[in-house]
Symmetry: C2
Subunit: 406 residues, 2 copies
């Protein structure tokens, strides 16, 4: 945790990946993020992966460093309490991050009656309020059909990484700071809606892919592990190590050709076909029929312990394929990586845990903070933030409107 946003207070009412990720990013840069959930847990409280004891590793990963208050949102008193929380006073507060529906009790229009300068960032599926998840969004914009080897025919390949959720979450954190900055200049709050589907369609626009398919009139071919538009794909060494090699810049290409002793062979291809691969990465893609076998053959003759250091010395852009267990136990990636600390979680497990994924030279990096127990901060939030008397807090507990940790 770096203390860039220590004065900021964000109230989060969310579930699943996108909206909780936005809250996580804010908390990891020092904001106070108060997440409220239904007593007993919302729809993501038991989501897989689970620990051996059955608690959600997913929930404890996405809610690190937040405060938790548990409220019975099924009752009017509970919903009113949540509304007061979202709209509590403070120049650096009045910031709601949510994926609740537009017309729920967290509708922006209702909340501005309590705090006119409220900033609401609302993660949605479709902009019209319709259902959409990461997985349906990915299918809607065409990636599954161009992912994976051509041998799959028209069988789609769903991604495992919830990329659209993650992207939407990071964007929502950005949008929240943008709206808060605007409010500091103008005094005006607003609701910013961030629909997953619009993140996806905007992204294919940003990457030039809408222009591409509209000008070609067809989908891109399925190229498997082959990078589109430059040189790159997977190869296997003599000792059976699989790696990815990318040569996008001139320097990466030159280093690769030198390292593999292919200067002459490539020059021969260039002369033969009347092209120059060093200055145009697109030509390396167009002529992959000859370049890929050359590289594959050269890599297959080398052992990884000799080839990989040579690649590094020459600035070749490459990387080994690792299994996730291998990655999680790789000292450079995790145990010795300063963004990680091994901390004990609510599941009872102690494991290496990431803080903010950034490095700020010469500033101290606090340790990551575990996710709360559900309701761990219920009393603290009611007493300190809403300023309730302890008798009032007791009555809310007695009435079952709020709950502490189990």
């Amino acid at each position: 945790m770096y203390a860039l946003l220590p004065s900021l207070r964000v109230v989060e009412a969310s579930s699943f990946v996108a909206s909780p990720t936005a809250g996580l990013y804010l908390a990891q840069l020092g904001a106070e993020v108060i997440r409220f959930d239904q007593i007993g847990g919302g729809p993501d409280f038991k989501r897989w992966p689970l620990s051996p004891s059955g608690s959600s590793l997913y929930w404890e990963g996405l809610n690190k460093g937040k405060k938790s208050i548990a409220i019975d949102l099924g009752r009017p008193e509970g919903r009113e309490l949540a509304q007061r929380l979202a709209t509590a006073p403070g120049a650096n507060a009045g910031l709601l991050l949510t994926n609740y529906p537009v017309n729920s009790f967290l509708a922006h229009d209702r909340l501005v009656a309590l705090r006119p300068d409220l900033v609401t960032v609302r993660v949605m599926g479709l902009a019209d309020g319709g259902n959409a998840l990461d997985y349906t969004v990915n299918c809607a914009v065409g990636f599954p059909q161009i992912t994976g080897p051509a041998s799959l025919g028209n069988e789609p390949v769903n991604h495992v990484l919830p990329a659209w959720d993650l992207l939407t979450g990071a964007y929502a954190a950005f949008a929240l700071l943008a709206a808060e900055r605007s409010r500091r200049e103008s005094g005006k709050g607003r609701e910013v809606r961030v629909p997953l589907m619009d993140m996806a369609t905007a992204t294919i626009s940003n990457l030039g892919m809408i222009g591409e398919v509209l000008s070609t009139g067809a989908d891109r071919t399925r190229y498997g592990n082959q990078l589109y538009g430059a040189f790159g794909r997977d190869f296997v060494t003599a000792d059976g190590k699989r790696l990815v090699i990318m040569a996008i810049t001139q320097r990466q290409w030159a280093g690769l050709i030198e390292s593999l002793g292919l200067r002459e062979a490539v020059a021969h291809v260039e002369a033969d076909r009347g092209v120059n691969f060093s200055k145009d990465e697109g030509l390396r893609f167009e002529h992959r029929d000859t370049l890929v076998p050359l590289v594959a053959q050269a890599v297959a003759q080398r052992n990884s312990d000799e080839l990989f250091p040579d690649f590094d010395a020459r600035g070749v852009c490459w990387g080994p394929y690792k299994g996730m267990y291998e990655a999680a136990t790789d000292p450079a990636l995790v145990a010795r990586n300063p963004i990680f600390s091994s901390i004990e979680h609510v599941s009872g497990l102690t494991y290496p845990t990431a803080g903010a994924p950034v490095t700020i030279p010469e500033e101290s990096r606090g340790s990551p903070i575990r996710a709360p127990r559900l309701g761990e901060h219920t009393d603290e939030v009611l007493l300190e933030l809403l300023g309730l008397a302890s008798g009032e807090v007791g009555s809310l507990h007695d009435a079952g409107v709020v709950a502490g940790p189990e």
Copy 2:
């Protein structure tokens, strides 16, 4: 474009996806983003996809709404000019977004001599300055081995969506606003380094996957299109339409079972196995051996024109698989989507183009602005921002230190 950040001025020195995306998101919320590039174009200026006339649809997608100044960065005078640009005065300026190396002429330490409160956000590969790209990062953390059908054995599946680049770009935009906010409170600038590899390792931590593989001691199985931990995968209707169905919440599951007339069959399985699928999405995953065939058979008996509206009416979470051309020509996704406008680009092509992927109710949404010609704003930036006299600008052109549009 929404005018949330109209006073902000960001100087961008970048290439490829991550860093330009951050600049794009800032520009689309109203910031003035000035990108400088080598005269003739940096390493991403000709990147695929290309228009029929050979200009980069990718470049014109990722640089929409920015200003462009072309400088000969191979010469000391050019580099000095770039440094002056990054550190030019203004309370809402002094914000540098770059993927240049730590020790380049854009080293933060050098630039603070010109502007002590500079904020630099630097997108990197590895935190130690080593090479890494989206594709190598993805391989390093284990996703290719768990993506795609089990029939592929241990053959990895690279993703086509540059998910780590996009996530890092959105995070970089967030980090820039966080650092700028901190500077407004404290007067202190800083460099925030955002390495792609740390975004990836932090993400598998955030999603609970590091805890998962360390507690199981093994990689997750390759589940193909099957969602892990709940009910979800692809199915095909009687008329051959492929769709994805997800049932994560209780409501989604109930709607699905009702729509497919499976209430009795599912109750039978529940009685048989002593489980209750409605309250525990994990059980729907554990018992997929029986649930998937039930759903597959029921879907295969229905036609899409009758099934899909029924799904919608019952709140089932589903979506059709679309090719990207089909997506780009889908009126709801693009042509009628208010985030899109059809505009003419530098390539000479006119096509639907996304602005900011957000909706702010009751505020006017400006039209997206095309990417600049390389050097289109060279004179404007030199005259207005750096305050050079027109004679000085002329001399810089004559000396080949800067260039206007070709």
